[in-house]
């Protein structure tokens, strides 16, 4: 069973690593999607069917489309698809931001007490997950929903801000 986990981890991390080094944005996006599929495979390996299928449905099915649309709509030509940092300052600040996020995540993972014992795998049905989400965790579900709605509205505001500048048709 551990060999399977190692293969899944290698595919997931390898895809993510290669995605970062590639110059072609479309290839990077597709590898990122492969990495998400790897995460879903990990959930399957861990016995969390529901989360795995939700991961595929949401990330591989929907978020991937958003990423690809964004890449294609913001680049003008194929030559434009390769990315290089604008300046050294930008690259450094990018590294600092990424490092900070990485540090927070790693800190959180290290600080979490992990049960290493061989406890039996709990069999969780979809019904139980639904009852949990609608009962005890209803508030957090609602908060996440509101947060995403706000993000969506914010994205619309940012995207439509350009329109007001070039109002040439109003004399």
């Amino acid at each position: 069973m551990n060999a399977v986990l190692i293969v899944i981890a290698l595919v997931t991390l390898g895809a993510a690593a290669v995605a970062m080094t590639l110059r072609n944005l479309i290839h990077s996006a597709l590898l990122l999607i492969a990495s998400w599929a790897g995460v879903a495979a990990f959930y399957l390996w861990a016995g969390a069917e529901f989360v795995a299928f939700a991961e595929i449905l949401v990330y591989v099915g929907a978020v991937s489309m958003v990423v690809l649309f964004a890449v294609l709509l913001t680049r003008r030509s194929r030559a434009d698809l390769t990315v290089t940092p604008d300046s050294a300052g930008r690259a450094i600040s990018g590294f600092i931001a990424g490092g900070a996020v990485c540090g927070v995540l790693v800190g959180a993972i290290v600080a979490t007490p992990m049960g290493v014992g061989s406890s039996p795998t709990p069999t969780v049905t979809v019904k139980q997950i639904g009852v949990q989400l609608m009962g005890t965790h209803a508030a957090s579900l609602l908060i996440v929903g509101v947060l995403l709605t706000v993000a969506l509205l914010g994205a619309i505001v940012i995207a439509s801000a350009d329109r007001t500048d070039d109002s040439e048709d109003t004399p």
Binding site: F53, L57, A62
Partner: protein, 407 residues
């Protein structure tokens, strides 16, 4: 496939008995593996053959609708009898295998190669959770319906890969159009089956089929399609399924007259055949899911018809739905892309959401008195019919029926 129930008729148990006779002598880990392989082989074999003959049936039926004979020349080898051109699919298969496989010079070779493979792989994955008969479901999953639509959602990615890797402006334009269409119709497709899960209280396909067992008054089956919300859900599901499988009248992604076959422009030979195959597999899988969710799965419509084995009922329903797909293709003209997305967002999605509320009303009224049991039929029918009429009137206002003066 799960173990055989001993109480069923012999024909009902025949597939499982036959499999057990073949694999029964194997030791345990091997037996499960071989059983799984047999299931995979059967799915590939049966649906592959079905695909071949559906293409023939489609061309024949389209020919009949358009008052022409359709393909009728291909003879059976060696005996030289035509039998209505029954060997046409095999001739087509040989043709697509021997045709030259052209890859554009500037194409993204790897993605160009991967796109049809990924598309076909994902559409075959969806066959795993459909119950084909009593005790005949390849994989028992607790979240089977979710699995089905998760595997189906990945096909959009393959369409994008095909369009982008071809390095052809028509391909890319068509792929973007296809994505807009597929994402638009994903929403009504997903929303239309949520009521079924709500009523059945499960995501498992076998449990959903079991929830539709029995007959009211001895002759009306408890299928979901025979309720107001179920009927509306079924219609929305089938319309969205038409669009998701790129079938006419929603075949704008590969509109051959405007976009020279869209994302398929730069594909030839067997890769093109794989796309074609994936389209039909997607259609078959979505029809199978529609049968499972709304048409009672493998259950027979009347009690005295139960002597016919369940898998034959499933097959019959499947062929009937496929015939419906072909009939629609022969009858309806293609929609424009703006009409198509408007139809999804302004008509199907609101109706599907209303239908979800409708289902909640239905299930709330089911626990009350006999009067309420009777009253929920007109109430729920009105909840879905009134928005249908109002929305339809409003959206088609100003678009009067066209009068053909010279035709």
């Amino acid at each position: 496939m799960i173990a055989a129930a001993t109480t069923d008729a012999f024909l009902e148990r025949a597939p499982v008995l036959l499999r057990d006779a073949v694999t029964g002598f194997l030791p345990e880990p091997w037996r499960t593996l071989v059983n799984a392989l047999i299931a995979v082989g059967l799915i590939l074999g049966i649906f592959g053959t079905l695909f071949a003959f559906i293409t023939l049936a489609e061309r024949k039926i389209l020919g009949r609708v358009q008052n022409r004979p359709g393909p009728n020349r291909a003879p059976i080898p060696f005996i030289n009898k035509r039998f209505f051109g029954l060997s046409q699919p095999f001739a087509d298969g040989v043709k697509s295998l021997t045709k030259e496989d052209i890859v554009p010079r500037d194409a993204d070779k790897v993605l160009h190669y991967l796109a049809p493979v990924a598309l076909l792989a994902f559409s075959i994955l969806t066959f795993a959770v459909i119950p084909y008969g009593r005790n005949l479901v390849p994989v028992e999953l607790d979240a089977a319906v979710l699995y089905f639509f998760a595997a189906g959602a990945a096909t959009e990615l393959a369409v994008f890969m095909a369009g982008w890797a071809s390095r052809n402006k028509y391909s890319l334009l068509a792929a973007m159009r296809a994505l807009a269409q597929l994402i638009s119709y994903e929403l009504p497709l997903l929303l239309s089956w949520v009521p079924v899960v709500l009523i059945a209280g499960t995501l498992s396909t076998t449990a959903i089929v079991d929830a539709q067992a029995g007959w009211k008054f001895g002759f009306i089956p408890h299928w979901h399609v025979f309720t107001p919300w179920g009927f509306a859900g079924f219609v929305i599901f089938m319309v969205a399924a038409l669009a998701e499988s790129n079938r006419s009248p929603f075949d704008t992604p590969e509109a051959e007259s405007e976009l020279i076959a869209g994302h398929l422009t730069e594909y030839s030979g067997f890769k093109y055949a794989l796309f074609f195959m994936a389209e039909y597999f997607g259609m078959l899988a979505l029809s199978g899911m529609a049968i499972t969710l709304f048409l009672g799965g493998w259950r027979s419509p009347l009690p005295f018809l139960e002597f016919i084995p369940s898998y034959l009922w499933f097959g019959g329903k499947l062929l009937a739905l496929i015939f419906g797909f072909i009939w629609i293709r022969a009858t309806f003209p293609r929609l424009r892309i703006d009409q198509l997305t408007r139809f999804a967002w302004k008509f199907l999605v609101p109706l599907a959401l209303i239908n979800l509320g409708n289902t909640i009303v239905w299930s709330l009224m089911s626990n009350s008195s006999a009067l309420m049991q009777l009253a929920r039929w007109p109430v729920c029918a009105a909840i879905i019919l009134v928005p249908f009429v109002v929305l339809g009137r409003k959206l088609s206002a100003g678009v009067a029926p066209r009068i053909y003066r010279y035709a």
